[in-house]
Symmetry: C2
Subunit: 430 residues, 2 copies
């Protein structure tokens, strides 16, 4: 354990391009590793730096919350919570406590200074311990507030942004109330699942008596890139997903489609400037049916070829989608029901959003199939103007519709980033 390499973990990411995308203070990862007292043994080589980057700490504070345009980490633990207290001050205090703990954990530290054993034998430890010795692992913790938080319980009705509305019902929705809604959400992304789970668990622990878990979702593989430096991953249909996603390197696109801007503050939403709205949808995929579907039908439903991910009739993944192109039979090369056509911004008056979803597998469904799918997460400036029309178009015509089922749904207002000295309680209660 004397050299630098031995103090860190090598963690998952799709290819070197992805690694380059998360090189954030790589050498700092030595120090960010939990439970290490020693100084680094030396500067890392470039190869070590690439590996270290997966361990590195992502800055917690800034203009926007981390975990939105941050190059998507490989693992997710997402939790929706209900507030169980009626005491406004308790909720405000929790948001302050959460800020402190989240900042510590994203830096690779325990949830509280007492850490694993600091409180002594007669107190419960202030950190649950399962991430002790693990690196910061690119952990980001992103908070959001659901529409229900702005009811009459906490005096927040006047703070509710007009854009924060429960989603309407869509054709084909099969929503399970046990996977839907929530007063609050926490999205923890990391390159090590144990670090993401640890973060959620410790925040939930801090909230005992104030909040309770409504539902949670583990994601094992990212299904979207949020940076041009990342390779496009595959979803559980076996197709590349998110090729045309908005990317961190497109600040104009983000300003237009993702970040809430001055002028968007209809209702009580002035505190949301610099924030973003998150739509979460649990999309069960009927993979057993899909897996017995012939290749052409799969490609027609998606609108891309399976191997390269190129738009149908074109050659390469990043070829600009040509929706006018005809196939040899004179019909559109990309069928009129293809997912990429219906979801494409040219089909939706220019609408785009930032996708940040994950593959999931949650045991079996009790009738012989795996309960697997895509946990869709997308950030946007106004769900009613972006997600709603897009999902309406998809729900009506999408060739994928017969293979999927939306069985969970929620929407959250994710506030802007915090500057030095600020905490999450201030925007709502300050």
């Amino acid at each position: 354990m004397s050299d630098g390499l031995s103090r860190r973990r090598l963690l998952g990411a799709s290819g070197t391009a992805a690694v380059a995308g998360v090189v954030v203070g790589a050498t700092g990862a030595y120090a960010a590793s939990r439970g290490n007292d020693a100084a680094p043994g030396g500067a890392p080589t470039s190869t070590e730096a690439a590996a270290l980057a997966l361990d590195a700490a992502i800055p917690f504070r800034g203009e926007h919350q981390a975990g939105i345009v941050t190059p998507a980490q490989d693992r997710l633990h997402f939790v929706a919570l209900d507030v169980v207290t009626k005491d406004r001050d308790q909720l405000r205090q929790l948001l302050e406590d959460w800020t402190r703990a989240a900042e510590r954990m994203t830096a690779g530290a325990e949830a509280a200074p007492g850490g694993l054993v600091g409180g002594g034998p007669n107190r419960a430890p202030e950190d649950t311990g399962e991430a002790f010795g693990l690196a910061a692992s690119g952990l980001t913790i992103t908070i959001g507030y659901g529409p229900s938080l702005f009811d009459d319980r906490f005096g927040l009705a006047s703070k509710r942004p007009a854009a924060l509305q429960d989603l309407p019902a869509f054709t084909g929705d099969q929503l399970d109330p046990r996977r839907t809604g929530g007063d609050l959400c926490i999205q923890a992304c990391a390159n090590d699942p144990q670090v993401a789970v640890h973060a959620v668990r410790n925040l939930v622990r801090l909230g005992f008596g104030v909040v309770a878990v409504r539902w949670s979702q583990l994601g094992f593989g990212r299904t979207s890139s949020t940076s041009t430096a990342q390779a496009t991953p595959r979803n559980l249909f076996g197709f590349k997903d998110g090729t045309n996603n908005l990317k961190a390197e497109d600040p104009e696109g983000l300003a237009k489609h993702v970040w809430v801007a001055p002028g968007d503050e209809a209702g009580g939403g002035v505190w949301m400037t610099g924030g973003s709205y998150l739509v979460a949808r649990r999309i069960r995929m009927h993979i057993e049916v899909w897996d017995r579907t012939r290749l052409q039908e799969q490609e027609d439903a998606i609108g891309r070829d399976k191997k390269e991910g190129a738009p149908l009739g074109q050659a390469k993944e990043y070829d600009a989608l040509d929706l006018t192109r005809k196939g040899p039979d004179g019909r559109p090369a990309i069928p009129t029901t293809a997912h990429v056509r219906l979801a494409h911004h040219s089909n939706l008056g220019g609408i785009r959003l930032l996708r940040r979803g994950y593959n999931f597998t949650d045991g079996s469904d009790g009738v012989g199939h795996l309960d697997a799918g895509l946990f869709f997460l997308a950030y946007m400036r106004d769900p009613g103007a972006q997600f709603v029309p897009m999902q309406r178009a998809l729900a009506e015509g999408d060739g994928l519709g017969e293979y999927i089922e939306h069985n969970g749904s929620a929407v959250f207002a994710c506030p802007p980033g915090l500057h030095d000295g600020e905490h999450w309680g201030q925007a709502l209660f300050g």
Copy 2:
């Protein structure tokens, strides 16, 4: 994508020691990466080799099945299946087909030569595709047969080993039938969860009409080391787990406690020589209660200190457990109800077993808590002589008992490894 590094992924493992443990044909990992045509760009450096090792392929064939003493990979997808056909030949054929697909996938290839698109547009692809482009990632696929497989459906009653018996009920069991039993099991371990999920899914797909998923379990972090080269991980109680586990480097211990030997073939079990019995237990941890328990009580329940993992009253993790040592108050330093005392071989007439468990988090329990715990997997020579007395001792007296709940259970006979040209169908039907 022109150098070696760009063709592989950096994947999770706990520290360099773990990496060293899985250096199996590191340079071969270049070729093992799915979807790569090109030859390696050059020999890797030692640091690259360490990272590559997490991508490497583990040999599928050998005296014993891989995935038992193989240094425990970081991620698990486990599935228990029921046979839904009554046709013995279909089952035999499936075991042969599974062998071929498992060997291909562990080498980093698609499930069948046709792969992603080889069957052409009018056939369903022979591989589901979500692991295309990912490395072999240390994948192991381990098969086991439950007691129910040897009923009167397939003419296997005479092949049933006497040691393969359903487990008895234990004090405190809260078994959910939907997480219990199974005619067959597949344990897929890998350093990339998407590779493990892909393996299970493709085997299940091959079994359509012959088998159906009974239950499945995803594990996100290993809780045991199976090699002295691996650092000891932490479970969701925040404690180091498995310090005294049997290890791959102890062939005498494995021969005595893990591998079925000539002379063990009571009943019809002659085909099990070189195999091992697997006990799987889904152990829900009441982490919310645990997290509010004071440190001393936690350490007394386990019998080790939380930070170092040393036996209570001793200094270091690997100090030999001294069960006779007294504390300053004259009482045993390791309480009489401590988990490590009750589970220690000196307390059980020398009984040991090889643990290979994983942490899990499966959403929430519907009443405000995370559904989290430890998916206990252990390999042994005779469950009735090893797991049963150990679990009886723990179920009666274990200080951890009030914090855990066994809600799933199964036992399987895992046959020996395959030599060249052999397949899984032969031992049972050959």
